[in-house]
């Protein structure tokens, strides 16, 4: 955490891109500063790290990631459940840091399967297992 006299706290967010994603930055790790009232996605894109996203309202789950260490909050997410949090999932488009944080990106498929398992959208609407 950086000391700031004015404005919100600023935290260090470590972003790990999985090795197997189909982008140039696969396998890389970035460290960025994110203020407490900024989303991890917006901060990353500002710093030139292009994380996947779509609605940016915490609904579609395209931006799903996993929190490996630290704490985030999702004040404006439209579809984020206690069980998502307990399983370590975050929606990076709405997630704001509340401590120094380490996240792994590109967890859309994983969250979709998790949601389907818990009979939650959009996972249960995407798999034809009925």
């Amino acid at each position: 955490m950086m000391a700031t006299d004015d404005g919100p706290d600023i935290w260090t967010v470590t972003i790990t891109i999985p090795k197997d994603v189909d982008r140039d930055d696969a396998g890389r790790t970035f460290e960025i500063e994110v203020s407490a009232d900024e989303t991890i996605l917006a901060a990353a894109r500002r710093e030139g790290v292009w994380l996947p996203a779509d609605c940016q309202q915490g609904w579609c789950t395209t931006c799903a990631g996993r929190v490996v260490d630290g704490e985030v909050t999702h004040p404006h997410a439209r579809r984020y459940h206690d069980e998502d949090r307990e399983a370590g999932f975050a929606l990076l488009c709405t997630a704001r840091p509340r401590s120094d944080v380490t996240v792994v990106t590109d967890q859309y498929d994983e969250l979709l399967a998790f949601r389907a398992k818990h009979d939650r959208p959009p996972g249960n609407a995407k798999f034809n297992d009925d």
Partner: protein, 219 residues
């Protein structure tokens, strides 16, 4: 569609209807047409649900004829976007979900509900509802749509001119819509002049960029 169809890029034998050159050219250019198709279904799920939700939102802009008519334009244009892209989903060997509830659940944008609870008499409890609350729901719905169609432009720009063409035409209208609602919300909430800069549509839901089939006025 047989189960053993391979999805590797490449040759299509003469007369083989189990593969589509219209999909293989996309795959050859590095985009997975199945993944794109599923994203299109999510995107038009949002167009379809906003067509529904804007009906209630529009009605509740009571006493504001200008807001109502602009919302009606956006409502009918979102419907036109759904109509425009459904055939593309089929071309890419997909279909709409067999349950309308699944279609709503997988929509890429949130339900755009009237931002007030329902009362016990079948209507909404409007005692605390402000015009600006409705305009804000409309604005955020349009912003979501802009993000979605921008993503689809990104996915298709280098690989799929046909889908790109649809996405950019829809995006044109979604950007119109955001500008409208920024103008209206700025004035209503902040008494601030923030012009959209457009001329009015010719008729409700004119969809100047996205209307499918000009010979079919119902699309």
């Amino acid at each position: 569609m047989s189960d053993d169809k391979t999805h590797a890029a490449g040759g299509v034998e003469p007369g083989d209807t189990s593969k589509r050159v219209g999909m293989e050219v996309i795959r050859e250019r590095g985009v997975d047409p199945e993944e794109l198709r599923e994203k299109l279904i999510d995107a038009i799920g949002a167009e379809f649900t906003t067509y529904y939700y804007y009906t209630n939102l529009r009605m509740h802009l009571a006493g504001e004829e200008d807001y109502k008519e602009i919302t009606e334009d956006a409502r009918l244009e979102d419907r036109a976007h759904f109509e425009l892209v459904v055939p593309r989903v089929y071309e890419l060997e997909g279909s709409l979900p067999n349950d309308i509830r699944d279609f709503a659940d997988r929509a890429s944008c949130p339900d755009a509900e009237v931002p007030t609870p329902m009362d016990d008499e079948g209507g909404f409890d409007t005692s605390e509802l402000e015009v600006e609350d409705i305009l804000e729901v409309l604005l955020e719905a349009e912003r979501c749509a802009i993000r979605t169609w921008s993503e689809i432009c990104d996915m298709t720009r280098e690989a799929d001119p046909r889908t790109y063409d649809m996405a950019q035409r829809i995006l044109n209208e979604e950007i119109d819509h955001e500008a409208w609602f920024i103008e209206l919300l700025s004035k209503e909430r902040d008494d601030e002049i923030n012009p959209a800069g457009h001329f009015a549509r010719g008729e409700p839901g004119d969809a100047p960029y996205s209307t499918n089939n000009r010979f079919n006025d119902s699309a």
